[in-house]
Symmetry: C2
C-alpha cells in the first residue's frame, strides 16, 4: 500500500459532524442552507432530453470555458484555454498543487489559519509544507510582511484563501500589492500564488484584492458551490495562464476524465447571466448582520467577518478548542468547529457559520456564551 | 512544475477524434449513442426540489453504497463500507492505483491490449509499469499462464479489463481460476487484482469470470457510464474489502471531496431495481450481430466480440495502425481507433465500435475494406 495514505488522519470536521443529532443547532456547517434555483435544473433537463449527458472534452464544455474566462477577464486569462472545468474547487486545488509542485524539490507555503485540505493534499502528494500564521492580535488580518518573511529557499507556491475560511478576513489591495511586489522583485523562477476564491460572492467590504489582476503567476480556484447553493453539484474551475492550464488538464484528464455534463449544463445557465452569481448575496449580508447582533449581545469576543459565511469566536484563555467543541455538542447540543482544525494559530477559537436561521443562530450563540461563562476562566 | 506532467503525451484517441467532421462515419466512439431514460432524471429532480444538492459524505450516499454492495454481493464486499462512490470508473481506477501502490517500491502489471489510462495514471504517480501482452494468434484471449509468467519481484497489482476495451474478449472462469490459484500459492504479501468491469452489462457469452468472487484481494471498478448511457454523469464506484476502501476514501476525499449529489440521486433510481442495469443489453446484442454481419460480408479479419461494444479488425500485414487511422479519416471520412493506442500488441489493428446505426456501420466497414483492398499488401 502507498505508505502516505494510512498516515493521513481522518477529517476532524467530519468526525465532529458525525456526532450531530437531529435536535442539534448546527453552527458548524460549511455549506449554504439555501436551496438552488430550480430554473437552472429545468433548463438543464431540456438539454438532457435532446442530447443526453455525453462526455465533454476533458477540460470541459468549450462554451462554458469561454463564458468563465470572459466573465472574470483576469489579465492573460481571458481565453477559454485558461479554464479547466473541475470537480468543485477541491479538485481544482488538487490538480493545481499536483501540476505546479515537484515533490522531490519544491515546498508549498500555506497561509494559516486555513481550510485543512491544502496541507492534506500536499501530504498525499509527498510535498513539503511550510505554514505562516496570521495573528490573533491582528484579528488574523493578512499580513504581507509575515508572508514574505516566511518564504523559504524551496517555496514555489503560496496558497491564500480570500475571503478566508475560517477567519472571514479578506486580503486588502495594499497587502496584496506589497506581497506581489516582493514576489516580482525576486530573482530566478517565479513563485506562484494560488487564490482560493470560493467565497468570492460573499464579500462584505470594498477593499478586496483579486490576486490574478495584480500578478501574472496566479492560479485561481473557484466553484458554484457557495455562490449558488450548489455544493453537491461539484462544479468548479481552474483559471490560470494557458501554458499552465494546458498541463493541468492532463492531470485532470487522467484522474477524473471530465466534469459532470449535467453540472456543466447548469453552470452554462448560471454564467449566461453572471449576475446570477450574486443571487444569494443579499441573504448573506442579512445573515452576517444577524450573526454580529447575536454575538454583540452575547459579549463573546469575535473577529468581524469581511467575507465568507463564518465568524471566529475566541474561547476563554486556556480552553482547548477540540475539548470545547466536544463539550458543546455533548452538553449543549451545538455544533461548532474547533479552531485547531485550521492550524495551531486558531487554537483557542471556534469557527461558527451564519447560514442557520436567525433564531437558531441566536440560540446557538447564547448556549456557547453560557458554556464559556461556566468555564473556570472568564470569557 | 511537477516534471512528470509535461512528460505525459496527449491522448492519441482524443487527437484523432478532433479530426472528425460532421459528415464522418464515427466508428471510434467510446460511448453509447443511446439517450438515457428520462425517468431517472425526473425523479432526481423531485429530490432537488425538496433537498437541493448538498454534499454527501465523502464515500457517497449511504443508501447508494448499500444498494451497490448488496446488488453485486461479492464475498467480503456485501456491506456499504466496501463501496466508495467515485467520479466515474476513471477516478475509481485512479484512487485504487494511488492507494494500493507505493511508487518507491511497487510495480503495476497491465494486461494488454488495454485502455491507455492505466499506464498514464501510473506515469503520473511515478509508479513503474510492466506490461504483458495477450497474443493476436490467440485472438487476444486472456492467457493465465502468460500473465503469471510476467509477474515480477515488485509486482503488487495486476489490472484486467473484462469484458475488454479494446479486444472485446472476456476472461473465462478457467483462466481466472488458474490465475487466482497461482496468486494464492505465492508466499508473502498478496498481489492485488483490479477488475475493471465497466463493460459488465455488455456481455455476449456465458463463460465470464467475476474475479471478486474468486479471489479476496480483488478491487472492482465500475460505473453507470456504459450500462445506462450516462457517460457524462461521471458516476462510478470502487468495490473492495472494507479495510482497503477505508483508505481509498481518504484519497478520494482529498482529491475531489465527494461525487455529484445529483448523479447519486440518479444512481439511486437505477439501483432500486438493478434490472435497470440491463435495460440496454438487447440493443447491444442486436448491434453486435449487425457488426458481425457487416464484417463477414466485407471479409475483413476480426476478433469475435464477447463483450463491450468494440470489435478489433486486422489491417493488411505491415500497415501501421496510426497511418491507417489518419488515412481513413482523411480520405474515407471514417473514424477508427488505431490499435497502437492500446499498446504494441495491438499494432496493425483497428478498434471499431458498434454503437452507430446499422447503415453507418455497414457503410463504414465497406470503406475500411475498400481502403485495405487498395493497400499494396492484401487484407
Amino acid at each position: 500500500m502507498n505508505p502516505r495514505v494510512p498516515e493521513i488522519a481522518p477529517s476532524l470536521i467530519r468526525q465532529l459532524n458525525a456526532k450531530k443529532r437531529p435536535t442539534s443547532i448546527d453552527l458548524g456547517l460549511g455549506e449554504p442552507t439555501l436551496l438552488p434555483r430550480m430554473e437552472y435544473f429545468e433548463r438543464a433537463m431540456e438539454r438532457v432530453r435532446t442530447s443526453g449527458v455525453k462526455y465533454t472534452p476533458n477540460a470541459g464544455d468549450p462554451e462554458l470555458r469561454e463564458l468563465i474566462a470572459r466573465h472574470y477577464a483576469y489579465p492573460g486569462m481571458e481565453k477559454p484555454e485558461s479554464v479547466c472545468i473541475t470537480i468543485g474547487s477541491q479538485e481544482a486545488m488538487y490538480v493545481t498543487l499536483k501540476t505546479l509542485l515537484d515533490p522531490s524539490r519544491d515546498e508549498l507555503l500555506v497561509v494559516e489559519p486555513a481550510f485543512p485540505s491544502y496541507v492534506k493534499m500536499a501530504a498525499l502528494e509527498g510535498i513539503d509544507v511550510r505554514v505562516v500564521s496570521m495573528l490573533p492580535d491582528d484579528d488574523f488580518e493578512f499580513d504581507a510582511e509575515r508572508i514574505i518573511a516566511a518564504i523559504g529557499e524551496r517555496t514555489r507556491v503560496i496558497v491564500i484563501c480570500s475571503p478566508c475560511n475560517p477567519t472571514a478576513r479578506v486580503i486588502s489591495r495594499d497587502a496584496a500589492q506589497a506581497l506581489v511586489e516582493a514576489l516580482s522583485r525576486r530573482p530566478g523562477d517565479p513563485i506562484w500564488l494560488i487564490h482560493d476564491e470560493i467565497y468570492r460572492e460573499q464579500l462584505f467590504v470594498d477593499d478586496a484584492a483579486d490576486l490574478a489582476r495584480l500578478y501574472p503567476h496566479t492560479i485561481v480556484a473557484n466553484s458554484l458551490s457557495k455562490s449558488n447553493a450548489l455544493t453537491g453539484l461539484r462544479l468548479g474551475w481552474i483559471l490560470g495562464p494557458g501554458a499552465f492550464v494546458g498541463q493541468a488538464i492532463k492531470v485532470h484528464a487522467w484522474a477524473v476524465s471530465c466534469a459532470d455534463t449535467f453540472a456543466q449544463y447548469i453552470a452554462l445557465e448560471v454564467f449566461r447571466d453572471p449576475g446570477n452569481l450574486q443571487e444569494h448575496a443579499p441573504w448573506y449580508r442579512e445573515h452576517r448582520a444577524l450573526a454580529r447582533e447575536a454575538l454583540e449581545e452575547s459579549s463573546l469576543p469575535f473577529v468581524d467577518p469581511e467575507g465568507a459565511f463564518y465568524v471566529c469566536v475566541r474561547l476563554p484563555n486556556g480552553t482547548r478548542s477540540l475539548d470545547a467543541a466536544h463539550d458543546l455538542i455533548g452538553r449543549f447540543d451545538v455544533v461548532a468547529i474547533p479552531g485547531i482544525a485550521f492550524g495551531e494559530s486558531l487554537e483557542g477559537w471556534l469557527r461558527l457559520s451564519f447560514v442557520a436561521s436567525a433564531e437558531r443562530m441566536r440560540d446557538g450563540v447564547a448556549r456557547i456564551a453560557e458554556y464559556c461563562a461556566k468555564l473556570p476562566v472568564s470569557c
